[in-house]
């Protein structure tokens, strides 16, 4: 009989699996470890979607509480983090719906734009464009720029490029097909690039040494 041995390391469980098992066994402190591990990411995702700090705080709390209560339903087919992100995205969209007094809110919002599909600004950027702004100015530019993206592009960019989910995980989390995630990601990246070019483009008369003529 063939001996089917897993290749060493191939099926090594994710460290969260042990923590989830401990929580299921009644160890609430193990859940606190999961909270500490992911609270920043979940808060950021909620803030990017709701664009409102108070809502993002509520979403973060509700998402973790819901995860704690529904841990029994977590199948373990996906990573705990991906499952948690899905809860946070749904909570965020629900929160937006409330703010807009029941108006439909979906991740398909405003994506029928052609902006950014064809790059128009072809100017190169300064060598270290961030150096031209202080930290607060830079953060403001980055926030303003990403806030201007259509919701359906912004969520995909945040999950995929900022928080590091794979294309497959992003698709699963948002209930989108893989081609839809890829198409939105490309357009999100190109739109952001186009908008950031206004701030980061190489100024006329700028030479490689970084000294302006």
């Amino acid at each position: 009989m063939a001996n089917i041995q897993p290749i060493e390391g191939e099926f090594e469980p994710h460290p969260d699996v042990a923590l989830v098992d401990r929580v299921r066994g009644g160890d609430v402190l193990a859940f606190d470890t999961l909270v500490r591990k992911y609270e920043r990411q979940i808060f950021r995702i909620a803030q990017h979607i709701t664009q409102n700090r108070e809502d993002a705080e509520d979403v973060m709390q509700d998402a973790f509480l819901k995860a704690y209560e529904k841990l029994g339903q977590f199948q373990g087919n996906s990573k705990f983090y991906t499952w948690l992100v899905r809860i946070a995205v749904n909570e965020s969209l629900m929160r937006l719906r409330k703010r807009r007094t029941g108006k439909m809110v979906s991740i398909d919002e405003d994506i029928e734009t052609e902006e950014g599909s064809v790059p128009r600004d072809l100017a190169d950027w300064a060598p270290d464009p961030e150096q031209n702004y202080n930290q607060a100015e830079l953060a403001e530019i980055l926030r303003k720029t990403i806030q201007g993206l259509p919701q359906g592009f912004r969520i995909v960019f945040v999950l995929r490029d900022v928080e590091g989910l794979s294309t497959e995980e992003t698709a699963e989390t948002l209930g989108l097909s893989i081609p839809a995630v890829k198409s939105r990601l490309l357009r999100a990246r190109l739109q952001l690039r186009e908008r950031l070019s206004r701030y980061f483009r190489r100024k006329k008369g700028f030479i490689e040494t970084g000294v302006e003529k």
């Binding site: 609430v28 859940f31 606190d32 909270v35 500490r36 609270e39 920043r40 808060f43 950021r44 803030q47 990017h48 700090r53 993002a56 705080e57 973060m60 709390q61 973790f64 509480l65 704690y68 209560e69 790059p119 072809l122 100017a123 190169d124 950027w125 464009p129 961030e130 830079l138 953060a139 980055l142 926030r143 990403i146 960019f157 490029d161 900022v162 294309t167 890829k182 990601l185 490309l186 990246r189 190109l190 952001l192 690039r193 950031l196 070019s197 980061f200």
Partner: protein, 77 residues
């Protein structure tokens, strides 16, 4: 390869998911198209810059409030 074809493969190139053969074709296009080179470099920089700057810090006290809420919920379960 045209610029449109290059653009269609830009994400795969950025994500490192192109075959060696396609990569060579993309490199050849970059060698003769300054515009696509700018688009590749500035798009890569766009991703890097968002990845390396935390735009929203966790508000102070939020962790403690969540911890208290979980402990409260735990007592009931």
């Amino acid at each position: 390869m045209t610029c449109t074809e290059f653009l269609a493969l830009l994400d795969d190139l950025l994500d490192g998911s192109v075959t060696a053969e396609t990569r060579a074709e993309l490199q050849a296009h970059l060698g003769r198209c300054g515009h696509c080179e700018v688009i590749l470099n500035t798009t890569r920089k766009t991703i890097e810059i968002y990845r390396s700057h935390e735009l929203y810090d966790l508000p102070p006290g939020l962790h403690d409030r969540l911890h208290a809420a979980i402990m409260n919920r735990c007592r009931k379960c």
